[in-house]
Every structure is written in structure tokens, then in C-alpha cells.
Amino acid sequence: MEREQGKSKTFMSDLVNDLKISRRSFVKATAATGAALALGTGLTPDLRALAQTGKAAGGDMGQWIASTCQGCTSWCSKEVYVVNGRAIKVHGNKRSKVNGSASCPRAHLALQQVYDPDRIKTPMKRTNRKKGRNEDPKFVPISWDEALNTIADRIMELRKNNETHKYLLLRGRYTYMRDIIYDAMTKIIGSPNNISHSAICAEAEKFGPFYTEGYWDYRQYDVLNTKYILIWGADPLAANRQVSYYSSVWGDIVGKATIAVVEPRLSATAAKADEWLPVKPGQDGALAAAIAHVLLTKGLWSKEFVGDFKDGKNLFVAGQEVDPETFEEKHTYGIVRFWNLELKDKTPEWAAERAGLPLEQIKRVAMDYGRAGSQSMSWVGGGPVMQVRGAYASMICHCLNGITGACDNVGGTLVNNKEYTVGFPSFEEFLDEAAKKSSKLAKIDHRGRKDFPCITSGKPGSSVVTNRAADGILKADPYDIKVAIAYMNNFNFSCTQPERWNQALAKIPFLVHITTNASEFSWFADILLPDTHHLFEKWGWVKSSANGYRHVTLMQPVIKPMWESKIDETEIPWLISEKLAQRGFDNMLRYFKTIKDPETGKEPANEKEFAVYCVKLTTQNLWDPAKYQGGDKINGWDEFRKAGVWNSAPYPFRKRWSDMKTKTKKFEFYSETLKAALEEHAKKHNTTVDDILEVSGYQARGERAFVPHYEEPSTLGDEKEYPFLFVDHKSRLNREGRSANCTWYHEFKDVDPGDAAWDDVAKINPLDAMKLGLKTGDKIRITSPTGKLECTAKLWEGVRPGTVAKCYGQGHWVYGRVASKVFGKEPRGGNNNEVLPAVYDRLSGATVRHAATRVKIEKV
């Protein structure tokens, strides 16, 4: 179909062409096609029906069709402008009460992703048996049939040899269709090993909220009603989460509320802030403790939420213990023990020394924060918590919301609203004996081991340690992995110390990668399967919250999927299940057939129907008026597709006061919930909580382990050899590390304060640069004890002296010809993960990114 254009275009014919082509005729031609397009001739009948209802202004050639952006985990509802079957523009779906019509800059880059010429067109197989960083896989195209047969054969071989636990599913960016491929498929095959990506860049920040207020998720922030916003290592104007929403209201907020940003480099949010607190990396907890100290000593806690001294006299005096009996608590638990165990000595003077901030500023911020009362918020992002002892920083930063009574309150921090989607039908009856047995074996990521408590939601060994799986695979600990399927992930790029992943992946005998682009991960794969792009080509839905609402937003194919790509979470499992059934193992296909069209009761006949029924079934409560439970009223499936989004009811403030999912139902300053979890884990390993904390690398012992508290940072590298602390941050244009192959990413990279277009810079304070004899534009090498990267020096005042700040997102050596300097060989820029060590916050399982390592800088 693609006619090979004669390459030997002659010099003269080009010249003649250039002279001959009249722009007017070009315009006329496009206008003529435009007229035809307006009739929607390019759309499939299905999409055409949908498009006809889309509102189009006079003279428009196309239609806006709803879908969802997963460029980051804001998960905004979008509309895509489609002309003649081509996606042309993206904007916010105004029907969403979460993001409205606002659209952050990275959304536009999705267009360059879906039409990325470096996307794989067809399934491919590796022809070079050797696997390694420097081994070209020599991929050759194969048919879907051949690819699926090969995969089914390998799975059947595991089943035949009774080693189905050696099957591994690695998950990356997902929708709530994930349960098909991640959960059901893995378990029906008979493996415990479904490993998600979650811990690469999150989890620790959920730890604090869970062990204080029993909520394991991202919070929403009632910014429109607040008076003080204290942000810890989050950059809501640039990166996760709800960037579109916060961008849309920030101009009003900066006029109404005081904004203080704690971060060692001047972030996009800090640029518009009242206070910038460039804390020494890893010392956030010290600052938080001092603020808590001031709030209590100055009597600025919420009497309504926390309670008060029985005789009304403030006994919180620096250095003095308080008798718990003197205080009457209301909706909280353990404020006095918190004071006695942690806060009484944590004066601003004490914090100023550690945090490297002016004493006056700490006092001012603490007082102003307290004076804002419950209309204040402590907004905890990844910065202070994705650290080796980040779990406790997460607690102490978040607990300020309890002290001021901002938790669940107007102008404070909120949780998710209720939504009414449902899960898939149970697959229990489709698990055979072998599957039931082997799916209970220990997982490859070592979660739940003595030194990896990983206590999500109070359950030890429940949270994933994504990055640890590499070590499990490498050391065949607890066993070797023989067949792995991975989708929309790129762990040997996105995890710290990625060389371990390179080695681990090279060791897996049969690796399948479902991906849009041939990525670093793909380089080690035996089979590549072309994946759909979530915003334009996929069926699915996701949910998220902001603005006091939660939305469930739909993904639907707004264009015909490019080339031969298929949907990772539904279509591909279906196709594999068909092949397995042909080989005599039909449990999975039979299970999939229980997912029927809720409107007609029809079983899916093929992968395409299956993909749609999965979405319809799980969202039925939202669009089927007969099953209405709350929020937006939507009249049927077609209307849901047109709207693209369902919104919850408004936020019910203070409903959770004294009804939290903690042991005491209160906001716990002394966490009985954490105590129970740690004790359960210790019991499992026949030891003490102190021992668990010791082997997991925490400093607290005894009772202190159960209150939010400051722990010293644990940073790799000797200060003499490695003089700089490495500060990692995210870009406004990162689409989770997948946008570096878009030219627009590089053209506009300088929208990140301090960064430069078409470059990857390490931002260095001019004082430090002077000592090193560096100037802007110098090529430098950054070396840590575990790795090195090369990039460009940028002298910038917005960086704390003694630190070097660099944005994550570049340094791809595959992925595409824009992302890499030489595809398959040389990276463009440097990947921060190369210098970051594979260390963890072991209570949450989170991978550490901040205050992780020291580095040295050399000119190259």
C-alpha cells in the first residue's frame, strides 16, 4: 500500500517541483477534501454515529470525541478533534468536574505519540539469540497468529512442567481493565507473580495518610477554600497530579492563599509561591516537626478537631513532657504521646540547623500556617517521602493536617469521593488445582520478607516492590522466571539502577513486551506486540479526583488503531486465551466469556467485543439508569460514550471525622494502625518490631516507631568523594518518560524552569559551578556510587548550593530516533535512574528517588 517513492529524485525534478507548486492550488485541494471530511466519510460507522452528535461550530471539518489522557496520573477527561479519521487536536472535556476544559501542556504531545513513526507496526520476533544492552535484537515482523501461537506454546510448556509460578506479568501504565491481564490471566495460568509498576514513583506518599487517617491513596486538596498551602516536594503546576485543574485555578489561589513550597530547587509552583523553602534534601521531616512544634506551643491546633487541655491552659511548652490525662481529644488519637515522644524538643532552632533554612522563615511559615486554622493544607508529594526513611516523613508532613483540623475539612485535604464502578466477575471457579496451589507461592519481588515489610493498607507484605523484582529474577530468588509478559512498562529505564534490569531481562528465557515503541525493555524481548495508544485507540476507563469531585472517565478508540496494534489489557489476553483453548486449556477463555454485554446479555465472540463488554460491564452502574446509585445521571451507554465522563456527587465534608479507617477510627497521632501492622509483620517473622525497623533501615525504636517523627536521611556516597546531593524532578512535558520521542517535547523543554530546549541539563548553583570551573553549556558527567550519566551543565540560581538538580525523562538509548541519539546505541541526554541507587522505603515498598545519593560532577 505504501508506495515506495523513488529515492533517486533528480536534482532538476525537485527544482522544477519547487518552482511549480502553487500554494493556492494546495489550499484549494485541502479545502475540497475538507468538504468531504465534514460528511464524516473517513469515520467507521460506529464512530460516525458518535461524531454526528458532537457539537461542531460553523465551518468545522471534524468532531470532538471524548476520551482520557494518561500522560500522567492526573487522568483527565479529554476530547479529541477528529477530522477524516485523523486525530488533530486534544482539549479538556468540559463535562468533567475534575479537570473541566483545562488541559495541561503535555496533553498535546499525545498527538505526536499516537502518530510516532517509531511505534512498532506489527508483532515482531527477535532473531538474535544473544540478549544484552549492546546486542541488536534484530527484530523481524511476524503475524499476530505466529506471535500468539509462540506465546501460547510457552505458557503450555510451563503448565505441562507444573511450573506455572515461573510465569511473570509485569504491569505498567494501566486502566481499570487491568484485572483481566494482571489478575485473572496470571492467576488462571497459575502464577503469584503479577508485579505492578506502582512503587516506582508512588506509595510512600500514601503511607502517611494511611497510618494517620486510614486512607491509602492520593488526596485531593480544597484549594479554592484554603488560606495556606504548604507543599512538600510536589509541583502541582507541572507534574502529578491534577495539573490541568490546579493550573486552571492557581491564578485565583495565589491571590487568596499563602503558598509555601518546600523543595531544594525552584519548581514551577515555587516560582509563583509566597515562600520558597529550599530545604536540604532529606531534611523535610525536621521542618515538619518544627512546624508541628510551633503549632502546639503557640496553641494553634484545632480545638474543634483535636480537642483541648481540660483546664484550657496550653501545657505544650518546649522541652516539657505533658501528662496525657490533662488533654481531652475529640477526633484525634495520641496528640500528647506524639508531643512527648517526638515534638517537645523539635524547636525551629533545632530544625533550622538541619534543614538549612533561615530560622525566621521557619517561624514565619509555622505561625502563618497555624493562623490559617483548618483552612490550611499540608500537601505531601514525592519529594520528602520517596526516601529511604520516607514513610515517617510522609507521616509527619501529613499529620499537620490533623493538628489544624484541615483533614476532611473545607479548605483542607480531602479523600476520594464515592464512585460506583464494579469489578469483574469472580474467576475463582476457573482456577484449577495447579493454579490454586502455585499462586500462593512467594512472589518474585520479595515483599513481606523480614526486611521488606511493605505494609500497604495495614497488611504486611501487601505492597509491591517493583524495582526489587529485578534482583529476584537475577538471583532466581525464590525461583527462576521462565516466561514473562510485560505491558506499557519500561523498567530498565524507569527504575533506579537500571543495569540490574538489563541483566535480569537478559536472563528471562522468553520475554514478551506489549508496547507502543521499541523501548529499552523491548530490547531484551523475544516477542514484541504492538500496543494501542490509550487516548486514541483503547477501550478502558480510569478514575481520579480533584475540585471536590471524582470522575470516572472513559477511553474509547477515537480513531482506527494505527497499523496492527491491539489493546493490551483486554484484546491481547482474549487472543491468548483462544490459543490456549486450542491447546486444551480453555479455563481462561471460558472465564472471559462470562463477561457479557450488560445490554444484550450476549457473550463476546471476539477480542473486539470482549474489550467493549469489559468496559460496559464494569461501568454499568454509571450509565444504566436502572442501576443508578449517585452522581451524574446518564441515560444509557451511548450517552456515556458521548459524555465520556461520569462525575460523583460533591464532597461530603467532615463525614469521616471519628469514622476513619484506622484502628481507633480517629486521626492517629499515635498510630495504633501502624503498631498493629508492624507487630503482625514482626510476629510473622518471630521477632520484635525494633528488629524489623533495624533490618529495614529505620532509626526509630520502641514507641517512637508508632508516631510521626523525624528520621535522618540515609544517603549513599561519601561527602568528600561525592560533594553534591542529587535532586531528581519531573517535567511538565513528561508523559511518564514516554514523550521523549516527540519533537515538541524537545522544542518546548524549556517550559521547565531552568531547563533548555533540545538539551538535557543539570542545574548547578553558580557558586558551585565557579568552584568546579563550569559554565553553562559545558558537557559534564555526573557520577554516583552506582552509576553515571552525561548531560549539559546549566548554571542557575534556583538550585540549592551543594545540590545538583536534573529533570527526569531523557537519556533513552532506544524508544525512537528522536528520544535516542543513535537508536539502539547512544542515549540523548542522561537518565537520572542511572545515578540513583536501587534503594527503598521498605515500609511502603517505594523506590527511593530523593536524597538517595551523592554525586560528583566532572567536565567531559
Binding site: E2, R3, D18, I21, R23, F26, V27, G34, A57, G59, D60, V83, G85, I88, K89, H91, A102, S103, P105, H108, L109, Y115, P117, D118, R119, I120, K121, T122, V140, P141, L237, S247, S248, G251, D252, G255, L266, A268, A271, A273, D274, P278, A518, L528, R732, L733, T743, W744, E747, F748, D750, V751, P753, N765, E797, G798, R800, P801, R817, F823
Partner: protein, 241 residues
């Protein structure tokens, strides 16, 4: 006849660059050319530092030096105040670009969208060449080519002529806002008719003390800036000796 102008509220602006990327998208602008751009500045010395961002675009000056200097009237004013460029008449002398005090005019040094004309594939047979991609979706120039970008200016400007922001004349003709205005997530851009005292822009200009870029040149720019990028509070002080 309306006199179009834009008010940019710097306090609302979050410096995200969404305007500039959306503009690329809407107007099929090739790499290296910025119809919508910015002026940034990091002021102060650590730790007293802030970063400031001023979005920029063609100022649609009343006394436009680019229009005065253009030998063929390719660069011209429309009755509604838009400074418009007709690539058919442009001889490519670049005098407008030389003359523009605001650095918003660019020249097409080569045939645009070079990236998309490449015939090489990363993995032969397994991935597409950019050219193949464009042909596959039946587009021109880029796969996401916007055919609605038409009018006096071209859908894609050829090599050898200059180009710049046209206030999205093709959208205004359809009663739609310029795309940067629509795309701005922060509502920092307000567009309207300056000759109408009731328009949003007139109201805002009466409420604040706006400034314009290089006003001293007498070009009468029609991009007005109000408020400040960082309206930070501070405790009252008289300083000290």
C-alpha cells in the same frame, strides 16, 4: 469593525507553555518556529530567587514596523487590527523579521516539517518511516496536519517566506477564539474587541494598569499584560539603614 487585542493576565499564567504547543498544533508550525513564545527570567540570588514568565506572540501593532517595511505589502494590516501575512506576495527579504522589535517573526529556511519527510524507518519493516506515517493517515506535512488552518496565510507556509502569529484569523472568521486562548489551561489569555467598551478586554484594561512590550518604540502593541507573574505577599517593612 472590531479592533482585536489580547490581555494576558500574568498572575493567572502558570508558565506551562500550553499556548505555544497548542499553537504549533493549530497552525501546523514547523520545528524551530515559535509563533507563540515566552520571555523568562530568573531573578535574585539563592535563596531569594524567583522565576518569571511572560508569554509572547505577535503584538499586532497599530504602527507595525514589519508592515511599514514590507516591500510588497505581503505583511499588511487587516481592518480588524490583525497584522496579516500573505506568503504568496512574500519575496523572502526577511526585512519584517529584521525590523520586528518583538522577535516574533521567523523565516522558513527550508521546506517545513523536514522530520516528516524522512524515508527511513527505525526498524525496517517493523516501524514506519515518517513519510510513510503521513501517507498512511492521508495527511499533508504532518500526520496531525490541521486542514482548517487556511485563509490568507497558508495551511503550511512554504520555504522561502516568513511566518508569524495571525491571531488565528481562520478561527476568528468562524467566531472561535484564537487557539492559544482556548488552550490556555489557566485562562490567562483574554481576547476581544478593544473598540467595544463593554468587551472583556476593555473592562480589564480599565481595571488594571496594563503594560506592553517596548512601548517606548511607539508601535502600539495590542498584547496587553496585567498583574504580575508572582504576586507574593511579604511582611510590611521600612527596610533599614
Amino acid at each position: 469593525m472590531p479592533r482585536y487585542a489580547m490581555v494576558i493576565d500574568l498572575q493567572r499564567c502558570v508558565g506551562c507553555g500550553g499556548c505555544s504547543i497548542a499553537c504549533r498544533n493549530e497552525n501546523n508550525v514547523t520545528e524551530g518556529i515559535y509563533w507563540s513564545n515566552k520571555i523568562t527570567e530568573t531573578v535574585g540570588t539563592f535563596p531569594n530567587v524567583r522565576y518569571h514568565y511572560i508569554p509572547t506572540l505577535c503584538n499586532h501593532c497599530s504602527n507595525a514596523p514589519c508592515v511599514r517595511g514590507c516591500p510588497t505589502r505581503a505583511m499588511h494590516k487587516l481592518a480588524n487590527g490583525i497584522t496579516m501575512h500573505d506568503p504568496d506576495k512574500c519575496i523572502g527579504c526577511k526585512y519584517c523579521e529584521f525590523n520586528c522589535p518583538y522577535g516574533v517573526i521567523y523565516f522558513n529556511w527550508e521546506k517545513p516539517h523536514k522530520f516528516w519527510r524522512s524515508e527511513e524507518a527505525a526498524i525496517p519493516g517493523g516501524t514506519a518511516s515518517p513519510k510513510e506515517e503521513v501517507e498512511k493517515v492521508g495527511a499533508k506535512g504532518t500526520p496531525y496536519f490541521n486542514p482548517e488552518r487556511s485563509g490568507i496565510s497558508a495551511a503550511i507556509r512554504p520555504k522561502g517566506v516568513v511566518e508569524k502569529c495571525t491571531f488565528c484569523d481562520h478561527r476568528i472568521a468562524k467566531k472561535q477564539l484564537p487557539y492559544c486562548v482556548e488552550a490556555c489551561p489557566a485562562n490567562a489569555r483574554v481576547f476581544g474587541d478593544l473598540s467595544d467598551p463593554k468587551s472583556e478586554v476593555s473592562v480589564l484594561l480599565g481595571k488594571f494598569h496594563p503594560f506592553r512590550l517596548r512601548e517606548e518604540l511607539g508601535t502600539e502593541p495590542h498584547i496587553f499584560y496585567i498583574r504580575g507573574y508572582n504576586p507574593a505577599r511579604y511582611r510590611a517593612t521600612k527596610g533599614g539603614v
